[in-house]
């Protein structure tokens, strides 16, 4: 029984991996937005990234 479940799980995992690769999934996190105004192209300052003001690492060892 465990072998059958494992085989099913294995095929599901491989199928998901193939689908993810085909659809261009990624492990990185990005913030998706809709309806960004077209004026951004002419006036980039009219849009502000949600990541502005990120606390930067300034240390080193």
């Amino acid at each position: 029984m465990f072998r059958k479940i494992y085989l099913l799980f294995g095929f599901f995992t491989l199928g998901t991996a193939a689908f993810a690769q085909y659809r261009g999934w990624s492990l990185d996190t990005v913030n998706q937005l809709k309806n960004v105004p077209k004026s951004v192209r002419d006036n980039p300052g009219s849009y502000r990234s949600v990541y502005v003001g990120y606390h930067h690492y300034t240390g080193g060892k």
Binding site: Y6, T13, L33, P44
Partner: protein
């Protein structure tokens, strides 16, 4: 008929002879007809010679009845594996290992056409036992019956335990000269769910084969009231709940891993990896005081929905630069917003030289539909960094190897868990044997056959 002829009398009806215990007079019931060698008086615990018309007393033993109570009362009938049987005898036996006494119950079943069969019960674990029809072949081991294995009907049974069994309670009738205090050397060989046992009594060796049964099956077979006693621990021939050969799981894992590798190679070859933007920009702190953001040239993504990799290279040294990116679809206004930092530090201390961070960065933006896009870039940098040139590359449709890594781990974890479960189960089983786990080298390799 003539008048002087006496009338014919009707032949007498056959009547069972009433049997009574010669000691206490209690009624004795014989259920297996002439096959019983001994019968035990349930009242006074006298073992009687069933072959003797007068039921000669062979032995009498003293034990409190309340101490021993069969789960299946004598005379109970049930259907076991399709055959009707009646419980006609019961005995309790024990072994003593390192000063600890382990007792188990044995039930003798009888069917006039099929003969005798046995049920054993220990700590809620049951076995359906019958006499071997063929002599098993012993293999290996230093002495006959100790260590090694036994081959019966083509199946190899591993030696589990050899012990001295003593009978301390009997009830009902038996097809042998049963005695309380009877001493036998019992050797068990296991091949779950079966157990092969040899019982050496004086010079006579009897081989039997048993198959593990669950208490619920016994209760259903004999229609016993209530619930069976809960099974405690792992019994010597108890089938593992991981009813899978662990080797087959690992073979399946290996096949999946190879398939995953092939999948990765196939997608890697098939991926376009198409560079759609390659630009070098200059960050200048004095310029940044005005509006720092700007946009790239428009580039086109063709084909199906796929990912986009944005790579950044900045030759920083003990500095950082942070880029607020937005990948914007010029046609739909849809945007993917993300920020990336490039920082690289190095130095030297008492431990030697060290480095931290990288001068390049990469991010994969998922599932981008085809269309015309541009990047809005808003750089920030270390206040001590006056200016730096950095390069941005946009590549369309790249393989993401992390997906395969996750899939690999997802395939590996269940295989490990199943192996661990099988290992712990087998460890529990063999810890009760003459071969405790420290000496066990092929523990997981000898799991049960797949069900």
């Amino acid at each position: 008929m003539s008048a002087g002829t006496p009338p014919l009398s009707t032949p007498p009806k056959p009547q069972a002879k009433a049997l009574n215990c010669p000691k206490c007079g209690a009624a004795i019931t014989l259920r297996c007809f002439g096959q019983a060698e001994t019968v035990v008086c349930g009242s006074c615990r006298c073992i009687l010679d069933a072959k003797d018309p007068n039921l000669a007393i062979l032995q009498q033993f003293e034990i409190k009845t309340s101490d021993v109570k069969p789960f299946i009362p004598l005379g109970t009938r049930g259907k076991l594996r399709g055959t009707d049987y009646e419980v006609i005898g019961f005995q309790r036996r024990h072994i003593t290992v390192e000063g600890v006494t382990y007792s188990w119950h044995e039930y003798l079943l009888f069917n006039p056409y099929k003969g005798f069969r046995y049920l054993s019960q220990y700590n809620g674990h049951w076995n359906d036992i019958s006499i071997c029809k063929q002599l098993p072949m012993l293999e290996g081991g230093f002495f006959v019956g100790i260590g090694g294995s036994a081959n019966y009907l083509g199946e190899v049974y591993r030696h589990f335990q050899t012990s001295d069994a003593n009978t301390d309670f009997v009830l009902g009738e038996f097809p042998w000269q049963v005695r309380v205090g009877e001493h036998a050397v019992v050797t068990d060989y296991v091949h779950p769910p079966r157990v092969l046992s040899s019982e050496k009594l004086d010079k006579e060796v009897t081989w039997s084969i048993g198959e593990y049964m669950y208490g619920r099956e016994i209760w259903d077979s004999f229609k016993l009231p209530g619930s069976p006693p809960e099974a405690i621990g792992v019994y010597e021939n108890q089938p593992s709940p991981v009813t899978t050969n662990v080797t087959s799981i690992w073979l399946a894992f290996a096949a999946f891993a190879i398939f995953l590798l092939a999948l990765m190679a196939g997608f890697d070859m098939r991926a376009k990896k198409e560079p759609v933007l390659h630009e070098t920009y200059l960050y200048n702190r004095t310029d940044a005081k005005s509006e720092p953001s700007f946009v790239s040239d428009v580039f086109e993504l063709t084909g199906r929905t796929s990912n986009v990799e944005v790579k950044t290279y900045a030759p920083v040294g003990n500095h950082w630069i942070y880029l607020n990116y937005a990948l914007i679809n010029q046609d739909s206004g849809q945007a993917w917003d993300f920020g990336r930092e490039v920082s690289y530090y190095y130095g030297y201390d008492s431990d030697g030289s060290w480095t931290e961070g990288k001068q390049h960065d990469s991010v994969v933006v998922p599932s981008i539909p085809p269309g015309h896009y541009y990047l809005r870039i808003e750089p920030e940098a270390d206040p001590s960094l006056p200016s730096i040139a950095y390069t941005v590359d946009v590549i369309h449709d790249v393989p993401v190897f992390g997906i395969y890594a996750i899939a690999f781990v997802a395939l590996l974890v269940p295989a490990l868990l199943i192996s661990l479960r099988a290992y712990t189960f087998e460890r529990s089983r063999w810890s009760e044997s003459d071969h405790p786990p420290v000496q066990l080298s092929r523990m997981t390799g000898n799991s049960e056959d797949d069900s």
